[in-house]
Amino acid sequence: MIHLDHVTVTFPDGDSRITAVNDVSLRGEPGTVTGIIGPSGSGKSSLLAVASTLVSPDSGHVWIDDVDAAQLTAKEAAVLRRERLGIVFQQSNLLPALSSFDQLRVMNHLGGRASRRETNKVNAKAAELLAAVGLAGQEHKRPHQLSGGQRQRVNIARALMNDPRVLIVDEPTSALDQQRGAEIIDLILRLSQDMNTATLLVTHDLVHLPRMDAVVEMVDGRLSTARSTALVTV
């Protein structure tokens, strides 16, 4: 479960500050996908940044299950991210030196040396997830040997490696054509349900909205609730 409770985020902008997220409250339940839409610069990425503990809010609470991420130090936030959050980036930010298989396995090494005892479990999990995103047989390929859609699939599998409670996805289809994009959205919808994650998904593409469990629209840093509910039935 993720619960943003009256969250406000500002960024320095010259001498003053710009309010990117303005008193937003939002709740995402396990096994559901909440779509977030809105014009460019409306604060969607900032909302995801605060939800994924990459920025702390100026005010408000960011509940990840029973933990208020707004209260955590940077170090504690990093631990929370690797243990409870999955993040899918807009670009498929994979590490160039790593095979697909290792892109997933690295998740077990983020806190330092991983225990050997877990190696088998981790390997099995990585293989299973790669198969789940349709990449069985591509385990050994490095990012430059994969297509854009395949890279995004690795990205999604990586985000799910540590059984996250919350999955955060920022415009996963922007670099893909219509067909690949639709497949990626399908995958996220299916895996969110299978793995019971509370998923927040920013997208430009309105055709996907009907399949989301909820949709919110951001305008100027605020949630425009009036249109938000209606959009689900577009």
């Binding site: 990425s45 990093a78 929370l80 993040i87 590490l95 690295v106 983020l110």
Partner: protein, 351 residues
């Protein structure tokens, strides 16, 4: 080290290049250290062998530095030192460079005379000499052979371990034997003193000036300038290797700053990232230094036959260790950007 090893493999060309640079620097450092130690040993090894607690010089004129070959001490000063309380032994030492010949060859040697003691293997009669190994080799003489010094004949009574003074091999004469070849007419150049006395007080009453053995090395020929210039080259090479490593890892870390941001966004601890990068650097350093050391040992064994070259832990392991530590320090300096990398930049919209 999960990511670090895979990067090493992925960018192995670049890392191999860096390791070869480190190896070459290590070769240079090793050669210069070995050479510096070799030259130093050819300069001062006999003096180090005396195991004297103090070496006593005549007080130099104002503004002059101590110089072993120019110092001249007197019989009276000798008596003062001998009778000083706390002084256990005083050996007068005379040194001069001279030509020594055998029937087949001739070479320049450091003639030394003293009374018998540690590092002063003086022969027992005035017509014998003790010849150090290198001098014996150069002249092709063995025990019992005859040699000529300044027109006087001597018998080779013993061949001793290598000992050097001012880049010439040492040859020992008794005090009486010395009188046959001495050109200076002085009592001795310096005293080798053992014991534990109030050195200051004795120096004052004898109008001498003394120093420990190590402190006296600067009074020997070109020791200071040799050790200084070679030492400076070695220090420069250390600095260069630290800078090269620092520069490489600065660029390397910058190149993958996006990756670092991603790893941080995924929840990597900064500590783990730093350890990873330092580990990576350590692998490169170890490989480079290891290869460099192997080359130094290999070529050093060859060079040792024609050059004054010393292979010892002091000229190999120590510089290697210093190089490793300074290299890591240089790398650590380059890793600031890891601590600073902002995971926020990994999220799509802000790139």
């Amino acid at each position: 080290m999960f990511v670090a090893w895979r990067e090493l493999n992925f960018a192995r060309g670049r890392f191999a290049l860096l390791a070869s640079v480190v190896a070459m620097l290590m070769v240079l450092v090793g050669f210069l250290s070995g050479l510096a130690a070799g030259l130093a040993s050819q300069n001062v090894s006999s003096v180090l062998g005396f195991k004297a607690d103090q070496i006593v010089f005549a007080k130099p004129a104002d503004g002059q530095k101590l110089s072993l070959s120019e110092s001249a001490v007197t019989r009276e000063q000798f008596d003062t030192w001998v009778s000083a309380s706390g002084v256990d032994a005083v050996r007068p030492l005379s040194v001069q460079q001279s030509k020594m010949s055998s029937p087949d060859a001739s070479t320049t040697v450091a003639l030394m005379s003293s009374t018998r003691g540690k590092g002063t293997p003086v022969p027992s009669d005035d017509s014998s000499v003790s010849v150090s190994q290198t001098a014996a080799d150069e002249l092709g003489v063995a025990v019992g052979d005859r040699v000529t010094i300044s027109g006087s004949d001597f018998k080779v009574a013993a061949i001793t371990d290598d000992a050097w003074f001012s880049h010439t091999p040492a040859v020992w004469l008794s005090r009486d034997g010395w009188l046959k070849v001495d050109r200076s007419g002085e009592f001795a150049n310096v005293f080798l003193v053992n014991g534990s006395a109030d050195w200051e007080a004795v120096n004052t009453s004898a109008s001498t000036q003394s120093a420990s053995t190590l402190g006296s090395l600067s009074a020997i020929g070109s020791f200071t300038s040799e050790a200084g210039s070679l030492g400076m080259m070695v220090a420069l090479l250390f600095a260069i290797s630290a800078l090269v490593l620092s520069a490489f890892f600065t660029v390397w870390t910058m190149q993958r700053s996006a990756d670092i941001a991603v790893l941080k966004a995924l929840g990597s601890s900064t500590r783990a990232l730093l350890i990873d990068s330092l580990g990576q650097a350590l692998v490169v350093l170890t490989a480079g230094i290891g290869v460099g050391l192997a080359l130094v040992l290999g070529f050093g064994a060859l060079a040792g036959q024609v050059l004054p070259f010393v292979i010892s832990p002091f000229t190999t392991l120590l510089p290697a260790l210093v190089m490793g530590v300074l290299g890591l320090a240089g790398v650590a300096f380059a890793l600031k950007s890891i601590t600073k990398a902002n995971p926020l930049s990994a999220l799509g919209g802000n790139r």
